[in-house]
Symmetry: D2
Subunit: 250 residues, 4 copies
């Protein structure tokens, strides 16, 4: 069965700015989904902020194995209950790929327990990504290093918990470095942050970037859907015999 | 200079139930603070949920190096903005010690990015904690294993991110195990979760438990106060010379 | 293509002691391999300490995706160069599943950089394993907890580096706990340690134990074969233009 | 009581090459020890490869809280038993600071369980180190970034296990990046790797480099000396009552 991907797009710059429209005529989300749909075993669709419940209804999430998230201008417009719903789905097993300025999305900050702050500069400088974990599934088919001629700079310190695995580090022409590809398990779900993707450069048309995202989707595919909870195990159902001691305020 | 500890107490069971009053006549928070105040180099005070801003005003937090948190019955009554304020302070360097049922507090769940769910049973059974990381600062002076004659059971799976370091694992008489002492760095701050401490047993009168909490306070003391942010580094201030390419939507 | 598993057996107790022969008439390694060979997509063979180069020739390793290792009585008889060869293969991508008393094997200690010490008791007591990471690939199809009626006890502290992911924790009837299922990435390879499997109990006939090992094999399958090295990048081949400064002792 | 530091120097280039003598007239180890001895609370001495047992007798190690290690030309001349002795001391609590080309030392490779391979170029290019973990003890008093005008380049992939905490990442003028400051716990001991320090540049005269090493020494100071082992716990000494089942081959 195919991996069912939902590509979430904020779709604000894409609608508002000719510069972005020229690069992504059908929106950034469409470009990402179209690339994923060329990969055998992946079936991607798009939803946007403007859709009912931002396109992230319970039904859509029921049918989503991996969600990708790009946002920038309108993080604050995402409803808190929808962000909580998405984060809860990740804990239950759904994969999440957070792209570029999605670092400041409610969903990512919530799952990281962090501010996800960073330095930045918009100068269209050269970015070179180095593969630091060549055996990682997300690095398969990706060269030892690859370049994007023009990108926004993100610099350290990046306000994230120590990644479970660091996959890429970026070198920037202007002198900075950045942890550009990093993974975390959250509950039964997997999260991958991937840095490139500023709206004014054709990053999502780059073949290596597309390959990284497709690899990440395959890596983040759920193993299961795990329902958390806080079940009480009564004393008379304990696995070993127990005599109850003490009182209770319940 | 002393480590300034603020012991936060929910102070609900302590007020409402004679059973708890009998064990902790001045409240659980007072018992914890009194124990800490016997340790040279630690100066602890208490605040409670019922205080103005739950006792966690900006001024109190300015004067707090390490915060300890016990709550159970009234997690929902903690204001969201105060929980966010406390979590932000941790990212900036304040230490946080989360005790027992504080696992479901807004502050802990927020910093973990997780549901912090678990199994539980209130039967006053025996708990034996094993030190699995004997070189860790929090384990110093703590034996290879120690027992609490009567405690509530918490069982796995515990809904937390993989700890940075696991310090204690509990064995329960009824047949369960639990990751009872675990650490995480969050930003410039350190977080320690410590399982024991059910309100109906005299756990915070136990000398080894007191020693663990004092060790954790010393370990969680801030190295610095780090102010995060998202500063822009203009192209003409870049560390290496840059020529700007491309446009911007800003 | 099938995952090619080589099951390494020390094959000393199996030959020497009737007690072990009664449980594993064709050796423990054969029992493990036979179980794996019932799983679609896995093709397992056995080699033993007594074989030429302990059965771990370069050619055998060329044809091995995942190696499982059980040893106890004769760790010292494994040649250092063969242990180094196996560890090197793991760094290059080969998966490794270390079973029970393999904790003290040269290969495991070498890859951990640790002594891998632990407590132990041979009393045929009850062991109950708890799944603490229910979303992990190795935990799929494994219940929340499962029991082995009679096993050797291993207790903490276990002398290992902090695992990348902890999957199982054991509860022992005699009062101990143990980190019984743990994973580490080493280079391009993955390592899983799984505790149960004392030679005098029929542990490898247990269906859940077999399932864990099969899951671990699928999880440890290499993504790639990565050849490490220390290549020099001459100044005139640098990615950015450089002027050489300073001298050299080379 | 002061932290007792033993600065280990390979002392080969320092003796053989005028270029190195000009920068470090009394050897690189003396330069490092002299800097540490200016720090209140640290008392450093030097030993070298050429000393009896490389200067690392049991008695010297008994009196060592933290060992620093610089080697390059003569890793192979370090006796295996001495490397094993040092690694064992780390597991028991001794701190270890591995400097620059010490990445390929027997001691570091042994503790990492890894090849510690990397790319390299000797061109005297600019290195800029970024602090990615500003709340870490080793980063205290270190700026957000600092530069070394002329250094050897080390590039990724660096053949190490995922660090417990990453503290510094380097940007190189020639286009590479490197994980230049990283920590690992090994047993009761702490290990810090710090990249800068090529013998033909005056790196250990740099004030920020000196400060990093001093911070690392303070961080790596042992909490305790923990004696590992594999003790048997007889059934009749179990913490919970046990009836022995099954036989034994012992």
């Amino acid at each position: 069965m195919s991996i069912r991907v939902t590509v979430w797009g904020e779709n604000v710059h894409d609608q508002r700015h000719q510069l972005v429209k020229d690069i992504y005529p059908r929106g950034m989300h469409s470009c990402i989904a179209e690339a994923l749909n060329t990969v055998p075993g992946i079936k991607a669709r798009t939803v946007t902020l403007q859709d009912h419940e931002h396109g992230l209804t319970e039904q859509v999430l029921d049918e989503t194995d991996v969600l990708t998230w790009w946002g920038h201008a309108a993080h604050g417009e995402v409803r808190d209950d929808i962000a909580a719903r998405v984060a809860d789905r990740v804990l239950k097993g759904m994969g999440l790929i957070v792209l570029h300025s999605g670092h400041h999305s409610k969903v990512f900050k919530r799952l990281m327990g962090h501010n996800c702050d960073l330095l930045w500069r918009e100068a269209g400088e050269k970015e070179r990504l180095w593969t630091v974990n060549p055996g990682h599934p997300i690095a398969q088919g990706i060269p030892a290093h690859f370049e994007l001629a023009h990108e926004e700079m993100y610099g350290e310190p990046f306000g994230i918990p120590e990644p479970d695995e660091l996959v890429f580090i970026s070198w920037f022409q202007g002198g900075e470095v950045f942890r550009s590809g990093a993974t975390w398990r959250r509950g039964a779900g997997k999260v991958f942050y991937f840095r490139p993707g500023h709206e004014t450069y054709p990053t999502y048309h780059d073949a290596t970037v597309k390959k990284v995202i497709a690899n990440a989707v395959a890596w983040a595919k759920p193993e299961c859907r795990f329902g958390w909870g806080c079940p009480n195990v009564p004393a008379d159902k304990a696995l070993e015999p127990l005599t109850v001691h003490g009182g209770s305020v319940h």
